[in-house]
């Protein structure tokens, strides 16, 4: 693997390899000495153009536990706010000698651009881009499901036939998209539940069942996994639903719905949660809830991704990058 940009192009075998590797990483996290020397001497840059403390510290913990050196770069207060382009930033990282770049960007496709243009040799890991994808989140979700379902026997398993219902703001959710592609590759059945206004354009062409009513979805799909998405009030610039109370009543996982879930069902949430809006406190704190496991598993999965991306031989240009495009950005002389 050279880059991890999305889950849409990730096959079943590759996904299982990442999940199995994460099992080994998780086992190492149970020991007194949590650190592994696998990426000693490698430099990982966390390049965050968008704030996300939990994703950043998760990647930072993952890289450090593999003994890599970590440089955190936040766009706020950096040269980006002075107008520096992504290309210039990439070339700076190249000059620093970054082996891996973890990038979060508000624009869909930014990690892909970084990976494909030949601006930088480093392995690129998408930590969320616009409304496109968030592959490590989907992988940690799949990892959490597999562990809950199969326990000690998770290794090598896929999620064939598992019913997963994803509820909420699908339109703005890269988590929902990444989960859909990955879960499909692993053989799960996926359903989206959302008001029409929160479904992305074109989603009816995707391999997913769509429901508008959460009650109906729970009855029809009998899900083993209910994944609640956060209502991203910071992205709600238009009226997508009448008001929060109505959203909570129609699409929130309240105590009554929690009680109606099948006995073995689990409740997932990528965090941070809006308690009382998309999820009730009882649901969030119940035995079924995997919220904190997801956080812990996030470190193991990110360790696996970083290891698989950065440990092997890095033949220059293995992914056949496009030739540097002259003229698309100014070429400055001297040090970047």
């Amino acid at each position: 693997m050279r880059h991890l940009l999305d889950t849409r192009t990730l096959g079943r075998e590759e996904s299982i390899l990442i999940l199995d590797t994460a099992e080994d990483m998780a086992a190492a996290q149970q020991r007194e000495v949590k650190k592994l020397p696998a990426l000693r001497g490698k430099t990982v840059v966390n390049l965050f153009f968008e704030d996300s403390t939990r994703t950043r510290i998760s990647f930072e913990a993952a890289a450090k536990r593999l003994s890599a050196d970590v440089i955190n770069f936040s766009a706020k207060g950096s040269s980006v706010s002075k107008g520096e382009s992504l290309k210039d930033t990439a070339q700076t990282l190249q000059a620093i000698g970054a082996d891996g770049v973890v990038i979060r960007h508000p624009s869909s496709g930014a990690p892909e651009r970084l990976a494909r243009t030949g601006w930088i040799d480093a392995g690129v890991l998408n930590a969320g881009d616009g409304t496109h994808e968030h592959p490590t989140q989907a992988l940690l979700d799949a990892f959490t499901m597999r562990r809950r379902l199969f326990g000690r026997h998770s290794r090598g398993r896929d999620l064939d036939g598992v019913s997963v219902v994803i509820v909420g703001d699908i339109a703005h959710s890269r988590v929902a998209r990444s989960n859909l592609w990955l879960l499909r590759a692993l053989g799960a059945r996926v359903s989206f539940v959302a008001p029409e206004t929160l479904l992305p354009y074109g989603s009816r062409a995707w391999p997913v069942a769509v429901h508008h009513s959460l009650d109906e979805a729970l009855r029809v799909e009998r899900p083993e996994v209910v994944m609640m998405l956060r209502i991203q009030s910071e992205r709600m610039h238009a009226a997508f639903f009448p008001n929060e109370r109505e959203y909570a009543r129609n699409w929130g996982l309240d105590d009554a719905r929690l009680a109606r879930l099948r006995e073995d069902a689990i409740v997932m949430h990528p965090g941070p949660m809006n308690r009382g809006l998309e999820i009730s406190s009882r649901a969030a704190d119940s035995e079924r809830s995997t919220v904190l496991e997801q956080v812990a598993n996030g470190v193991s999965v990110r360790m696996a991704a970083l290891y698989l991306l950065l440990s092997g031989e890095r033949a220059g240009g293995a992914a056949a990058p496009e030739p540097p495009q002259r003229g698309d950005t100014d070429h400055r002389g001297g040090d970047a």
Partner: protein
């Protein structure tokens, strides 16, 4: 160069029986003994040695599996290796005499990685090394305490250990490097 069998099933079994006796003798019994195999075939050999010791002494020796992939110093020089499961005995290895078991001892780098990995799991009283085949060409100051067979070989040759559990046959062969093997 044709592939030639250097050890057959019965010879492997005899070698493992001898190693088992040597381990018991050096350890003056089985007290505080832990066998730790290096995947894939070292883990199988460790299990067989444990069974043999159980037959001889009538007591079970804890067996662990120690994957050393993440501790190798040559990760950047080979295609990415997928790690394999590590399972340590529940009682741990603190204060124990750990016998590391591998199929072929060659450069010594795997053993170096194993020593590092072992150190992250606990602090054994002593660590010994058992190998079914010692083919020489050491790159580090490491030697085995228990050896099934010394097999001086050229670097151009390839030693393949096949075991019943995964290969369907017990044998050690020597052949040209280009040939397929373990």
């Amino acid at each position: 160069m044709a592939t030639r069998t250097v050890l057959e099933g019965a010879e492997i079994s005899r070698a493992l029986t001898r190693i088992s006796h040597e381990i018991i003798e050096a350890n003056k019994g089985v007290a505080g003994l832990v066998l730790v195999g290096i995947p894939t075939r070292g883990a199988l050999l460790a299990r067989r040695i444990a069974e043999t010791i159980d037959r001889i002494e009538g007591s079970e020796v804890p067996v662990g599996i120690l994957d050393v992939t993440l501790y190798r110093d040559d990760l950047a020089h080979h295609p990415t290796r997928a790690p394999q499961p590590t399972e340590m005995p529940v009682a741990g290895i603190d204060g124990a005499t750990v016998v590391l078991v591998d199929d072929v001892l060659y450069s010594g780098r795997t053993v170096r990685a194993a020593l590092d990995a072992l150190g992250d799991h606990g602090r054994p009283r002593a660590v010994r090394l058992a190998a079914l085949i010692d083919r020489g060409h050491r790159e580090l100051p490491i030697r085995a305490d228990y050896i099934g067979k010394n097999l001086p070989s050229s670097k151009e040759e390839r030693i393949s250990v096949r075991l019943q559990e995964i290969d369907g046959v017990d044998e050690v062969t020597i052949g040209a490097r280009a040939e397929a093997g373990s």
